[in-house]
Symmetry: C2
Subunit: 392 residues, 2 copies
């Protein structure tokens, strides 16, 4: 047996571990006694339109058949047109590959980009921990650069990390776990640094992981990365925007301005095939192609963010205001082990930041029902008091 | 970029290539001018019950959420109970891992079983060609043994192929491409040979790839492999039985009698995680768990088999009578290149056997509508005549 796979299977991701703990705790103590802020499992239901589309679609006798490995052509045409309309970017049909969610998209892209000579990826911490799992499974190495203050890009640090073996830089905006959205200016500075070191022989690709693109508050702009950097690959998912996390539907889009985009696309097709991805769900390919631009009721997340962020600040916690996604990143007032223990004893579950590559913060996933937020507040208040925090 | 992945993506599987060719041909010349017997894309629609279940299920607001990585517990409980009832075999819930179809199941199992020391798998030819792709992507080696006469197991050949590096033998019954079902007696002889060489330190697992289990004619028995060999792993899919090929839903079941079954299961969980499989579609997990024992209308396949097998035999072709799956394996009366060319010129598309590891046969997938069979017969007759075959 493969020892590394055994390790990955027996020591589950901390997030999944806490998710399972929460489910068991709820089974034993009742659903109301646990405030589970661990996993990004969207609590807002999928839009009615999506479910109506599903109901209609299943009456089509061809709906459950295999599509082409890269996805149904009509579906990809619609996505291509949507990208043109929404971002004013050319993304030809033959550069779009439908995937079984963003995890599949990332795994496939890493597998495609790694070869013997060039196998290093760079990410800024805090970062989504499965990047490391997927990169390493593809035979690559993930190099981690601590973010700058306020979780911006640390450009000096990045420059030092780039080597001739570097093949990709991962950008996740809106960010999991910080809720940070990078501005056009920040991104342009970053891409300048990367472009300086990217050559025709050894291009450095930017991998834009964008499952939270539509989960944005206060009218913050989320720049479209292929408009700012040529060698870019977008990994997208409808898990969060349409609350379809369990259905696993997303895509990879290779910028037509990327070097050797055709070769890269075919390599992506090969990697998908090698990893056992035959095609993305044919039903959900159709459903998302008919729901472009639609989202679940994001006002609920905004309400949750406002309520929880406001309250936590009031209780004296240090945290950054999330502009997107559905996470609050909060500084731990005690060493994380102690802080987590006290929180757990109050029935509050969140994820320690060590799993995202930085110490002594926690991630609070507020994609729960507003009622859970409301009922949790006295417990958060107590948590602040136990930790000796002063109100603002 | 990864050269091997580029190769896999640019030289697509012959089956997929012909599938795409058929689609393009139909687009240009009209649907009725092509008789596409290339791919196992079930033409019989999914049962009404399945589509009704989907329609009901989407009204449950939790239906699209992530499940546990190994699958929803209630779903797995039902599958466990079904296996007990149907095969009188114990398959505990914690030994069942829901997958994105059989391709994912196989990819995950190969990835789990390969380590540095032991990485060889054995299969009998003709065999499903993606085994090689998945095994090699996992870092393994696929050793191929030509089947015995009538496509039975070649035991002497197998014995010679087993080395201390052998970790698995793949069994596919009913078989793609031959439609062969192995009897209990045949399997027992095979397992005797394998068991002799399987040790506690170096167990040899049998991987039972069973997407065609329910597609069986003439009341032929398909023995349940975990009842005959302890170190067995079943890879199952509902792609064919429920005509859900595009939805990608299946499972891995590790026999509880397998050595270190717990460790093996956790390794499988790790491999699934590493390959980017977050969970199998939550909607389809639910749907299949409520449809256990149900199949699409297999009488249509039986009709097709009877009609096509009878006619081809009458036209003078040499072929074996398929007992299961939806393929006819037919000897080419000419060198395959020539035979394929003539068939193509008559609008008939099937898959050359070279892709399955043997020369000068072809695979005819008869999972098409009876009308296509009927209209194709004059063309097959002409094909026989051009090849100079005599009627029986």
């Amino acid at each position: 047996m493969n020892k590394k796979m055994y390790e990955l299977g027996s020591k589950r991701s901390v997030i999944r571990e806490l998710f399972e703990y929460g489910k068991e705790y709820a089974e034993v103590h009742g659903k109301d006694s646990v405030f589970d802020f661990t996993i990004g499992n969207p609590n807002i239901p999928a839009p009615h339109t999506v479910n109506d589309l599903i109901k209609q679609a299943v009456d089509n006798p061809d709906i459950h058949l295999y599509t082409s490995a890269e996805g149904d052509k009509e579906v990809r045409k619609k996505i291509s047109a949507y990208i043109k309309k929404e971002f004013n970017a050319d993304m030809p049909v033959q550069n779009i590959y439908m995937t079984t969610g963003a995890a599949a998209a990332l795994s496939i892209v890493f597998k495609a980009l790694v070869d013997e000579e060039r196998n290093e990826f760079i990410v800024f911490a805090p970062y989504f921990p499965e990047y490391k799992v997927f990169v390493e499974a593809a035979g690559g190495v993930l190099n981690v650069q601590r973010a700058a203050e306020n979780f911006g890009f640390n450009l000096e640090g990045l420059e030092k990390l780039i080597t001739p073996r570097t093949v990709g830089v991962i950008i996740n905006s809106p960010s999991n776990p910080t809720g940070r959205i990078y501005s056009k200016e920040e991104l342009s500075h970053l891409f300048e640094v990367i472009a300086k070191r990217s050559t025709k022989e050894k291009p450095i690709y930017v991998i834009a992981d964008e499952p939270y693109r539509e989960l944005v508050y206060d009218d913050t702009e989320v720049p479209y990365i292929p408009n700012l950097y040529d060698n870019s690959i977008v990994c997208y998912s409808w898990s969060k925007s349409l609350s379809l996390a369990g259905e696993r539907i997303g895509y990879i889009a290779v910028s037509p301005k990327a070097q050797n985009d055709r070769e890269l696309f075919l390599t992506i097709c090969g990697a998908g095939r090698a990893l056992g991805y035959v095609c993305a769900s044919s039903l959900f390919q159709y459903v998302v192609s008919e729901s472009l631009g639609l989202t679940a009721d994001i006002e609920i997340y905004k309400h949750n963010r406002d309520r929880l962020y406001g309250a936590l600040k009031e209780y004296g916690f240090t945290l950054i205001e999330p502009k997107g996604a559905f996470y609050i990143f909060m500084k731990s007032p005690l060493p994380n082990d102690d802080f987590m223990k006290i929180a757990k004893s109050l029935g509050i579950l969140f994820v320690p930041s060590e799993t995202f590559g930085v110490d002594n913060w926690v991630r609070i996933a507020y994609c729960v029902s507003p009622d859970v937020i409301e009922r949790s507040l006295p417990h958060f208040k107590k948590l602040a008091e136990i930790c000796g925090l002063k109100k603002e």
